[in-house]
Amino acid sequence: MSPLPDDELAARLRAALTRQAADATTSDDSLGRIRSRTAAERGPVRRWLPVAVATAAAVVAVAVVAVLLGPASRSGTGTASGPTAGPTSPGPTSSDSGAPSPSPSASESASTSPSSPPGGTAHAVPAYYVRVFEGHARLYREFHRVVTTDAGVVAASLATMLAAPADPDYASLWPVGTTVTALTRTGAGGKDLTVVLSAAPTGFADVAVQQVVYTVTAADPDVAAVTVTYPGGSSGAVGRVVDWQILAPVWVLAPVDGAHASSPLKLSGTASVFEATVSWQVARADGTVAASGAAMATIGAPGRGAWSVSVPLPPGTYTVTAWEASAQDGRVTWPDTKVVVVG
């Protein structure tokens, strides 16, 4: 193959930069922040009253989103990085590498779903699930191995999302038995996706819609907008809500639940937590603590960073938990738990 001409390279760079730049987020009150600083330099504010009102409205809007989407104690700007740090790669992987654990039920239901064409090859398809903590619902991600064609990946991801998660602590906001009744692409290059589901979400409708949006946009990054329609509701065309509003603050990506691993046990994941500090512990089968500590994520909230820690352990069955210690009182929030067999 002859090398690409420079102008084709340039066109690709242009496209990649444009898409990457679209991930950048700006805070709602950016002008208000500038004004408060310039006003401070200059003395009393005289002319900003209408703006102050507008800024207050923006704050109210943010508060409403916070109520819908969960604890938004994090204020200010969003991070531009999306869901991060899946340690997985296609192909067979060992269980202690953080690979998606095969989930027979999910794989089977996905691969036998009418929307997945027969044949194809093994894909690790992404699926987002939900946990509810203190009245708020947030997203977690798993990868499942599914045999499908390249064109069937989005349908297979949705079917996986509607089936059982590998981690029993997770659930779907879409009731058991929900199916995809239509999956259509419109717009230039099929970048707009409409997903019609057979049942309405069991609660947290906004989060349920994002469960679908995150899943299909992870399966196909070219999808620009998603419309989720279900009996009694439709989302309109939406994209991903910025990750710090919707993803669970702490994800344990390795080990996966039920994994067999060797010592030292490597715990890793991503987190968007106060001062980038992820708390973790490893408990024995009898509940006593074998090891515990704190790991630093590569970036603190509202960014989402990667974290990892390596723990030497004698053979046995352990429960690994990682969580965010509340900035207010240090209590355990958003624990993510995995059972792992070391030996």
């Binding site: 090398p3 690409l4 420079d6 390279l9 340039a10 690709r12 760079l13 242009r14 496209a15 990649a16 930069l17 444009t18 898409r19 990457q20 730049a21 679209a22 991930d23 950048a24 987020t25 700006t26 805070s27 950016s30 002008l31 500038i34 004004r35 600083r37 310039t38 330099e41 002319r47 989103v65 700007t77 969003g78 991070t79 531009a80 990085s81 869901p83 991060t84 740090a85 899946g86 340690p87 790669s89 296609p90 398809v125 992404p126 390249d150 990946v153 992870a218 399966a219 990054p221 620009a224 907008a225 939406v238 994209g239 910025v242 590569t298 970036i299 960014g303 989402r304 960073g305 990667a306």
Partner: protein, 199 residues
């Protein structure tokens, strides 16, 4: 809600600043809209509406850290407010904003270790979310971009995201157009392996 949409409009409102939107304000402007009559508050308001988002996007491409990117642009606007009495003219003010943004991003890079946090996170994201399709995407390109020398990255971002001419980039960075050309060629060559893999 931060939509995924807007990629296309990003190009339009992108970095070709002052030309369309602000040009219109100048042309239609009789006395009340004459930028020379603007005080610093008004200049900040108008230029914020026209350029804030694209400047944050540029800073984000240079820095790889959303919060830091926005801080840099906030600083640029606060500086503009101070500098307006001597700028007095939108094109010069926009140049000032761009320059502050690029310089702020560069010193931000020195201060924070964002490049080291940025590249792995992006690479992991690319790996994680694109595993299903097996295709390297823009996040992989961004990760590769983050590994380039600062000048090469600045030139590539300004040239291919900002659509600035070699002369404009030279003015902005305080280097010669020939040096801009060299940085662009080297940067593009360094990114060739990854760009050949993306669609």
């Amino acid at each position: 809600v931060d939509g995924v949409q807007g990629t296309a409009s990003a190009r339009v409102t992108g970095w070709s600043p002052g030309r369309e939107r602000q040009g219109a304000a100048v042309v239609t402007g009789a006395a009340p809209d004459d930028p020379r009559t603007w005080d610093a508050d008004r200049a900040v308001t108008v230029l914020h509406a026209a350029h804030y988002r694209s400047l944050v996007r540029t800073a984000w491409l240079l820095l790889g850290d959303a919060a830091a990117a926005e801080d840099v642009v906030q600083d640029a606007f606060v500086g503009l407010h101070r500098a307006w009495p001597r700028l007095r003219e939108p094109d010069r003010a926009v140049h000032y904003l761009h320059r502050s943004t690029v310089n702020g991003a560069r010193s931000g890079l020195r201060r924070r270790r964002t490049v080291t946090t940025y590249a792995p996170v992006l690479a992991e994201r690319a790996e994680a979310d694109d595993v299903a399709t097996g295709v390297a995407d823009h996040t992989a390109v961004a990760a590769a971009l983050a590994s380039l020398p600062v000048r090469q990255r600045e030139v590539l971002v300004l040239r291919y995201y900002g659509d600035l001419s070699e002369q404009a980039i030279a003015d902005l960075l305080g280097i010669s157009p020939g040096t801009v050309k060299v940085h662009a060629a080297r940067g593009l060559a360094a990114l060739r392996p990854i760009l050949e893999q993306v669609r």
